[in-house]
Symmetry: C2
Subunit: 108 residues, 2 copies
Amino acid sequence: MAGRPDAKPYYAVIFTSEQTADTAGYEAMAERMVELAAQQPGFLGIESARSGLGITVSYWRDVASIAAWRQHVEHLAAQRLGRERWYQRFRLRIARVEQDWSFERPTS
Amino acid sequence: MAGRPDAKPYYAVIFTSEQTADTAGYEAMAERMVELAAQQPGFLGIESARSGLGITVSYWRDVASIAAWRQHVEHLAAQRLGRERWYQRFRLRIARVEQDWSFERPTS
């Protein structure tokens, strides 16, 4: 959650998911996908949290970067495993970030 | 995480946060804000997860709905307490949702 504002507009991919009981292999794959995403052109950052519902938001320079990442061969394999094993349901949204601001507590 | 697609475009408010050690009162306030947000015009839904980093994404019909909610008197008080007590840092993004799709595991 870097405080640096990125040049706008940029894009957010909002991925919300509920997992199945079969989580074998999930964590390793999720870590690999973060590592791989970070190497893609146009990648700006990624943030994740899970407490029952999982939310991952990744940030990209433009929709072309997102489209390329969605078609990455290793990512396609992960997506297939997600649908076959790990996800009960998910929802994916692509959104254009128009405003962005941050707060940081002053050090006292 | 309803599967129903909302009419596009609509808007997402992506709020990512790290908490301070002082979490007294936080949960009750967070619950109250979800309850209150759901009563506002233009509200479409809200999703939250926290594991260290917290991510809350709320969905709105348009930017006017978001602006009105940000100025709601009870919400303003919560925002002030957030900055004074509960948040080490946060980042707020307003994004226009342009694509939206979902997957639901077939019942076997």
